[in-house]
Symmetry: C2
Subunit: 229 residues, 2 copies
DNA sequence: TTGTCGGCGGAAGGCCGACAA
DNA sequence: TTGTCGGCCTTCCGCCGACAA
């Protein structure tokens, strides 16, 4: 999807959107004789993040074999904040109020010699879609705001007060934005076509078929609904 | 969902939204030793219609046994039209232009002694949700239009030029509205969580399990994607 | 007959500082 | 410091008849 440096940022964005307790383990997988390999994703409609884990049955019986894939360290430093949205933040009346601490730590520096310093921020969400925001420092007393572009983001992501806005900057200056919802958007399909029962049976059959024929299969791991499978 | 007379209308609405070639057969089911019984539905998001068919394995071996359920005749007459939406119909600039023939045949009569005769139409969609439209006969030359309320319907149903608007009136004066799309809305889940493979396997297992244990099971029949199952 | 347009009035969007919690 | 509000300007919505295909 992106050049090398960007992948780190997407992975960090995924972590931020999923929440601190939702890291996907990849070492213990070996205990069940499945060499790991997973990919982080997000739903198109809700931006709900999930992990797709590709599993292949293995005859390797040593669960203590160190896993080279997980031993890599992140190479760059990240600057990020998460803010719970106020009523004003999500209202169509105005923009987004950036807390001073967040602005100082995470937003690119403004030229403070100007009367009303302003800049355009261009950030990508977890799908790689670009979002533009006007960042301005104005008012009395002075404050940081996101104005033009913010309301489109709120509408497109269907954000309401209580949801959280995720912002991330890499050392190289690349920006990412994301969303963490207070109440997940209900999927239209969950109530109609796809029965949980059918899915569960399908997964079981797929897994056993995979073991018998020694072929690969895929599991989707959704932080919000871990207990389903 | 509704009192008796309304059910007929919903069934007719389902037929109109699915298209003339999409009637759900219910006689030949017997040939496969499944006493029939189905219910028409529509997806919450796209209004795509489908049929949910409940099947129970049967030891009855006479395929020619007449089916009493399908021999009933509809009791009331329906007045309906389907119009392909023009660019103007779906534009936010104005309302919906009702073809004269359609207005004469299907819309409730206006009081033509008025200068600009108008009335409010209240119609339910396939979910039972009410939609209100202002119907007015005005302009030079005179024409039938749906104005206030129409744009909300277009936005909510995500209609674009080329899609079709379905209108239905029963003898009792009850009104129904529906939608038939040129290009189906792609479901966000179809590209992510739910794999066709898992669904297919789930259905097969459910069916064989049903036969073995002689219990009921359910199949969803979607006119647009008959070939999937 | 009916699709599209210009005109226009009103509602909502959205940028601003004021102010108080 | 920052959530909310009144003010005000602009954009877009949406109802109208005109007009031509």
């Amino acid at each position: 999807m992106e050049d090398g440096a960007g992948d780190d940022l997407y992975q960090e964005l995924w972590r931020l959107c999923a929440g601190p307790l939702m890291d996907v383990p990849c070492v213990q997988d070996r205990v069940f004789h499945f060499p790991p390999g997973h990919i982080e994703l997000a739903e198109m409609e809700s931006d709900e993040v999930y992990a797709r884990i590709t599993l292949q049955p293995s005859s390797d019986t040593d669960p203590l074999d160190p896993n080279p894939i997980c031993s890599e360290k992140p190479k760059q430093k990240f600057y990020s904040f998460i803010k719970t949205l106020s009523t004003s933040d999500t209202s169509t009346h105005g923009g987004f109020s950036v807390l001073r601490k967040h602005a100082n730590e995470c937003l690119p520096q403004l030229d403070m010699t100007m009367e009303n310093p302003t800049q355009e921020l261009v950030a990508k969400d977890i799908h790689g879609v670009e979002w533009k925001f006007k960042h301005i420092y104005r008012g009395h007393p002075k404050r940081h705001l996101l104005t033009t572009g913010w309301s489109s983001f709120v509408a497109a992501k269907k954000l309401v007060a209580g949801d959280s806005f995720v912002f991330l900057r890499g050392e190289n200056g690349q920006l990412r934005v994301g969303v963490r919802r207070l109440n997940p958007l209900q999927s239209p399909t969950s109530s109609s076509v796809v029965s949980t029962q059918n899915m569960r049976l399908g997964v079981i059959v797929t897994a056993s078929h995979s073991v018998m024929t020694n072929t690969m299969f895929v599991v989707c791991y959704k932080p919000r609904f871990v207990s389903i499978f």
